[in-house]
Amino acid sequence: MNNRIRELRGNQGWSQAELADRLDVSRQTVNAIETGKYDPSLPLAFAIARLFGETIETLFNPDA
């Protein structure tokens, strides 16, 4: 599943570690989500969307 997390993180000027701290997950988890290796759980997807002020639908694209 594709997502825009790397792009939005870049816009905020955050490193993967900083985003991981804000989401209370490991940096490896952020990396795996960004590279599309891992799809986050629903609570984590909501937390990411809330952090960037977006909706889950605009963040994640299941068709890609």
Partner: protein, 134 residues
């Protein structure tokens, strides 16, 4: 900051697993020492069961640690354990049959070694799949 976090992680691991590991080592040592001084009989079964509480405690401690982990790490651990269990079971059953047919002589410690090797291999494969160390 990262060094402090890593130190806290090691401290947490030591607190979680240290006492139970010491208890396990002590109970295995006691069971071994007692069994050498007794004659074969039904009491041997009780002595052999001395390490059981520590193993149960260890399983609970490991489960508690797993639940505290981040969600991807939980998935990595569960997938690695599932793969390792499946493969090691196949290999151990095969070795057991070879032992029964007299083609190969195996002992119980070999099973532990096979399980450890399968677990390490599965950890490597699953971490590679999720790029977990990147």
């Amino acid at each position: 900051m990262r060094t402090v976090l890593a130190m806290n992680r090691w401290k947490r691991t030591l607190i979680d697993m240290g006492p139970v590991t010491l208890f396990y080592i002590a109970s295995v040592f006691i069971a071994g020492a007692v069994s050498k001084r007794m004659d074969p009989g039904s009491l041997c079964i009780l002595v052999a069961m001395i390490p059981l509480p520590s193993i149960v405690w260890m399983a609970f401690a490991e489960m508690r640690r797993l639940r505290r982990r981040d969600e991807l790490r939980q998935r990595v651990e569960v997938e690695a354990m599932t793969i390792a269990f499946s493969i090691s079971l196949c290999v151990i059953v095969m070795l057991r049959f070879l032992d029964l047919f007299g083609a190969l002589k195996t002992t119980i410690p070999v099973a532990g070694l096979i399980m450890s090797i399968c677990w390490a291999g599965a950890q490597f494969w699953v971490r590679l799949r999720y790029r977990y160390w990147a």
